[in-house]
């Protein structure tokens, strides 16, 4: 099996693994502002230019959700650089190494913002019972 096929298989497994979790992280849902440091603030700007169009707020849109994927950063970096499926590759000229590092910081901060979102979803479900 070629290297690209291995990574695609691995990514598909991880996608399946997280199917049950909510990817919603935005402030109205989580009821808390996303806490960011300087690198993840810079990473958020990179995300808005290159990623947000297909993964709005890290949720699914044209592309799959990112927020609830337990992907290690090296896999994410690999997918950004090489592309996967319909997702284009983002070479150095588009996202340099420093920006890519900041982007990973932002994605990590977004993922950690999960607890508030899940709590809100739970409250919502309870209120409808």
């Amino acid at each position: 099996m070629k290297a690209g096929s291995w990574s695609r298989l691995a990514a598909a497994c991880l996608w399946l693994a997280t199917a049950g979790c909510s990817a919603r992280r935005s402030e109205p849902i989580s009821k808390a502002e996303l806490l960011t440091d300087k690198p993840s603030e810079r990473g958020r700007v990179v995300f808005m230019e290159h990623c947000n169009r297909c993964h709005p707020g890290g949720e699914a849109g044209l592309g799959p959700a990112l927020n609830h994927k337990p992907l290690p950063n090296f896999v994410k970096r690999y997918m950004v650089r090489r592309g996967i499926g319909s997702m284009p590759a983002f070479p150095q000229q588009l996202i340099n190494d420093s920006d890519l590092k900041d982007l990973m910081s932002y994605l990590t901060a977004l993922k950690r913002h999960e607890r508030g979102a899940d709590q809100t979803a739970l409250e919502e479900i309870n209120s409808r019972r």
């Binding site: 290297a3 297909c54 044209l62 284009p88």
Partner: protein, 482 residues
């Protein structure tokens, strides 16, 4: 084994092991069924529950009005009375009467003016005793109307090329006292195709096509349609050749235009937009939302963002060969399979960088800026996202849009401001909720303390056809709790 080969093998093993380890934890329903926002089964009754809309802590949502048919704008007069514009037309070729109506203190509506079958009335602004209305012009071409408070109308501009996909929209009064408005394109990406037949207008106007604002030179690429090969900026079934020139003229498509408030000469401000729908000034700077390409028709484009532009006089903004400052010949716009041919032999300019890249397929529509510290976020843009029209506009994995977003202009960072609660994003009808359906515009009241959301109502898009539902439009209001 070399060091490189060893690293590659290690990567394969760790990636596979990680994937397999996680596999038992999940379910696969998420993968099987891409869901677009319009795929709800609509019963005919739209429940309305402001508490189903999530907003940041400290804000509250209220229901102002309901039962409207295709509302597109709210506007306030100098006595701060609220008026609502009903479009009179919706995608899906559904017709009604365009109307401007005033909400009275006892919640009754007074109809100020009605149009004829030339909707959609897409936007309105009030200025010094007059309402200025953008008439979409689906049957007779676009117009800019001026109405006094008694509904007496005069036509400031007419004959705008609005018979196609995108209409005359978004009037705004500039600091120079001129009326600015957007004129959308006839097609998705410059080429008339079978998608336009599906939308309904090609049967009515088989010779209609896009008109450039300045002379252009074509590359001579032609695309297959049911009526034969078709080039850009020509009627369906017409072949173009390399080096062919197309004369530009006013009025044209894909442009921001302006006219004096009393009527007069039409002026070109900028061109190369696709669907310049929402216009708003922040101080002396004009910003416009521009809905990105769809993956449909003879020249489908995948993954193109909606855009927010700061309008620079005389500039060309890239349509039909760029998305933002990125040429459509990049593989990303063809799902990585080859590349799309550019239809212009020579670009009229290099498009500027957008002020913000907005989610693809969201249809980012109306826009307004916060000016009050009582509401907060002063200087930030609030944008209504109508929501995807998949599968017609191209497939999505999950619903996109159906919310109000806040944009920090200085950084281009976009955040949700008002969204439906629930496990995933989407219109209320998809989750049996009572919140937002299809927000089409936003406007702050004259005090700047309240943000009004115009919610167009339910449109389902099963089997590609759009089915808009009359009497499901709503006006919401968001204020900060004291």
């Amino acid at each position: 084994m070399s060091q490189t080969a060893g690293n590659a093998t290690g990567f394969k093993k760790s990636a596979l092991a990680l994937g397999l380890a996680c596999l038992p934890m999940g379910g696969c329903h998420y993968l099987r069924t891409p869901v677009s926002g319009g795929q709800a089964e609509f019963s005919g009754h739209r429940p309305l529950r402001p508490q189903d809309i999530a907003v940041p802590t400290g804000f509250r949502v209220e229901l102002v009005a309901s039962g409207l048919t295709f509302p597109t704008a709210v506007v306030f007069d100098d006595e701060r009375r609220l008026y609502v514009l009903e479009a009179g037309y919706s995608y899906g070729d559904s017709w009604a009467l365009p109307r401007l109506m005033r909400l009275e203190p006892d919640d009754r509506w007074t109809v100020i003016a009605s149009g004829d079958r030339n909707g959609p009335w897409t936007g309105a602004v009030y200025h010094q005793g007059f309402f200025y209305i953008a008439e979409g012009g689906q049957l007779e071409g676009g117009r800019i109307l001026r109405l006094d408070k008694n509904g007496r109308a005069s036509v400031l501009v007419e004959g705008l090329p609005s018979l196609g996909d995108h209409h005359t929209a978004g009037p705004a009064i500039g600091p120079d006292g001129m009326l600015y408005f957007g004129q959308g394109t006839a097609t998705n990406a410059g080429v008339v195709g079978d998608d336009n037949d599906f939308l309904g207008w090609l049967g009515r106007f088989p010779d209609f096509h896009d008109i450039p604002c300045e002379e252009i030179e074509l590359a001579g690429h032609n695309f297959p349609t049911a009526k034969g090969l078709t080039g850009a900026f020509v009627p369906i079934g017409t072949i173009t050749s390399p080096g062919q020139r197309v004369t530009g003229r006013l009025p044209c498509n894909g442009a921001i235009l302006r006219t004096p408030l009393e009527g007069g000469e039409l002026e070109l401000v900028a061109w190369g937009f696709r669907n310049p729908f929402g216009l708003a000034f922040r101080g002396s700077e004009l910003f416009v939302t521009d809905a990105g390409y769809d993956e449909r028709g003879s020249r489908p484009v995948w993954g193109a963002a909606d855009l927010l532009w700061k309008v620079r006089e005389g500039a060309w903004y890239g349509w039909p060969d760029y998305s933002g400052d990125r040429p459509l010949s990049l593989p990303e716009f063809a799902r990585g399979k080859g590349s799309l041919p550019l239809v212009l032999a020579k670009s009229p300019g290099k498009p500027p960088r957008p002020s913000a890249w907005l989610p693809s397929s969201a249809f980012s529509a109306g826009i307004d800026f916060s000016t009050s510290s009582a509401f907060g976020y002063v200087g930030d843009a609030f944008i209504a996202q109508f929501g995807d029209r998949a599968p017609f506009s191209g497939p999505v994995l999950r619903p996109v849009g159906f919310k109000i977003v806040r944009l920090r202009l200085e950084t281009g960072v976009l955040e949700d401001f008002a969204v439906n609660k629930g496990r995933q994003n989407g219109p209320a009808s998809l989750s049996s909720g009572g919140g937002l359906e299809r927000p089409i515009s936003v406007r702050f009241d004259p005090s700047g303390h309240s943000l009004y959301i115009v919610d167009f109502g339910v449109i389902t898009t099963r089997d590609k056809a759009a089915s808009p539902r009359k009497n499901t439009g709503v006006i919401w209001r968001i204020t900060r709790r004291v």
